[in-house]
Amino acid sequence: MTTSNEVVQQAAAQEYKYGFITDIEAESTPPGLNEDIVRWISAKKEEPEWLLEWRLRALRHFLTLLEKEQLPAWANVSYPPINFQDIIYYSAPKSRPESLEEVDPEILETYRKLGISLDEQKLLAGVAVDAVFDSVSVATTFKTELAKQGIIFGSFSDAVREHPDLVRKYLGSVVPYTDNFYASLNAAVFTDGSFCYIPKGVRCPVDLTTYFRINAAGTGQFERTLIIADDDSYVSYLEGCSAPMRDENQLHAAVVELVTEENAEIKYSTIQNWYPGDANGKGGIYNFVTKRGRCEGRNSKISWTQVETGSAITWKYPSVILKGDNSIGEFYSVALTKGHQQADTGTKMVHIGKNTRSTIISKGISAEHAENTYRGQVKVMPNADNARNITRCDSLLIGDQCGAHTTPYVEVRNNSAKLEHEAYTSRVSEDQLFYCNQRGISLEDAQALVINGFCKEVFSKLPFEFAVEATRLLEVNLEGTVG
């Protein structure tokens, strides 16, 4: 994605390079959450009745949870209570473009600064982009090109209008609105996101990318992504995120649902670089996200790869329900926390079908005062004969003020299951740094080298350009943290 020298130089010069604010006219709801707001959002998006009803059911469920104070409390993170009536639930640029040419130049400039080209030319680079700015999708490239192969890729709002049956069939089928506190909130107020459908037998020729950008102050971002890979299809999907530097904490509560039918495969890669807050822990994004895939068909596969470097708090467990026989779930994760960042992240692999396999590789890196927790669950159901899981979770500590924690849960109800679990915690050792120094490599480069080596198994799963970006992001984020 972003490989131009200019972007790299900016990256080297700043601690958080995406912290600028775009000055555009926005249309927003007043802060607060109630039925009127939900109805307003739904009407604004000209949604069908069934969707409004669904939102309202979600809202009632959410308000009940809120009233009973049933917020998720089990994660190893701490933050002051969020006032859900203070948040603006919808903010969108005022001009609504009909085509790429009509996109506000300020917004195009924003994406250019982020190193993302919304130019149709980008097809040459093998990437199609959907750009989500605050609450709405502002541009999707190559829609027509992809449509020739029957691939649907674009904003969620468009999908609701153009493919209501598909949306209705799958929406909430993997993450129901009752799933958890933040998933309920999202279902009530979600504003946009990406929708993708790969028809039977089609191998998507380009990586599909969504770039999420929070811009307006006081807003939350609640996008919803739904990807369906029909029989014998394949898609690689990339997701990037950033936000301006602001003193307040902003809430990001997204939901991602993936479904693979028979022999289908979805490869989902994320680079999450929301604003993490300043050195004293002020500001930053609360990233409370529910991501889950269901391997519905036999021999299907879902693979999550994530590089989590941003956000004040990350609470995220991309999971796979292995329903189809012989299906495969994978989770590869690098989570870097520094300053006062907190991350509680991991995965859930639920084995339902026979001969299902899952692999979990998690690499947690902590520096300064950060806390990093891996939380994972492997569940083998009674009918899941011959289920296999391999879990490796490694932690790397930089300095002596930070923490790493590993919380694996295992629940096996079938005797034929085979599970392996490995975990280790290490430090970037003095001897490693000295060894590098002795070959002429500076201390900072030495640390980056050691950390890249530590993350290699995960980076090797990323598409090439994303891997390059991930490597740089890690280097930039670790500047000045040599322990």
């Binding site: 050792s429 003095e430 001897d431 490693q432 000295f434 060894y435 590098c436 120094n437 002795q438 070959r439 002429g440 490599i441 500076s442 201390l443 480069d445 080298l449 050691v450 890249n452 080596g453 530590f454 993350c455 290699k456 198994e457």
Partner: protein
């Protein structure tokens, strides 16, 4: 090239080096021999700048400049190379990537060209032959899962790539069988040149029949107790270090 005067160094609170003096000219090979705990590795690490080895007195100049004032990476860039007795593992980092980072850091500091991946690939393909390995060897992660012999070969390979002015070889022969010893020794000999000096630290005489030194120094209890020509090695082989250790008291490191 290298001038060591009255060097004292400690590990923790224990003084290991108690006044070492040594002068090395360009092209010379000096062997430093001594029993375990006599201060051989301390001398190597103190010269390279390891933080655990504190210099408490004395001076070292390298190419006329104060060596001790420079951080380790600067010493390396100035042309000082240490072949580690126990090379360190860096999991997940390929040896060739690691070496390219090192060579380019050295080149950059001298205003020389930094090698791109293709140019470096040609260079490393040539250099692995110095230690009788193939290209694939350099694609493995640095020392990860390396046998003892592979680690020593890797150190010599790194020296061949970085082409230092002064190489300190800390027991490049320890743990090697006869064949590996031959390969490592031939690699070292190939890198001998009128411009390059070697400080060869060893416990045993046997490597010195392959890599023939110009001078031999016996270190005991943190001091050089005798210096001479290559014939000194044969004397040690025959008589051991006993007569020196008895004269000097208990070994320094224990």
């Amino acid at each position: 090239m290298l001038e060591i005067k009255n060097l004292h160094a400690s590990v923790g609170d224990v003084e290991i080096l108690k006044g070492v003096n040594l002068s090395v000219n360009a092209g010379e090979v000096h062997a430093i021999m001594g029993p375990n705990g006599s201060g051989k590795s301390t001398l190597a690490n103190a010269l390279a700048g390891h933080a655990n080895y504190k210099v408490t007195a004395g001076s070292v100049t390298f190419d006329g400049k104060d060596l001790l004032a420079q951080p380790p990476e600067q010493r390396a860039r100035a042309g000082l190379f240490l072949s580690f007795q126990n090379p360190i593992e860096i999991p997940g980092v390929r040896l060739d990537h690691f070496l390219r980072a090192g060579l380019n850091a050295v080149n950059k500091s001298k205003g020389l060209e930094e090698l791109d991946v293709l140019k470096f690939d040609r260079l490393i393909a040539k250099k692995v032959k110095v230690v009788e390995m193939d290209r694939a060897f350099a694609r493995r992660a640095v020392n990860e899962g390396f046998s003892g012999g592979e680690r020593k070969r890797s150190e010599i390979l790194q020296m061949a790539v970085l082409e230092p002015k002064l190489a300190i070889l800390d027991e490049p022969d320890s743990g090697l069988d006869v064949d590996a010893l031959r390969v490592v020794s031939e690699g070292i000999n190939e890198l001998r040149s009128p411009e390059r000096s070697l400080l060869l630290i060893t416990h045993y005489q046997r490597i010195l029949s392959y890599v023939v030194p110009d001078f031999i120094h016996i270190i005991v209890n943190g001091r050089f107790v005798r210096s001479g020509g290559k014939e000194l090695a044969l004397e040690i082989e025959a008589e051991g270090y006993d007569k020196y250790t008895e004269a000097a008291g208990a070994p320094a490191g224990e």
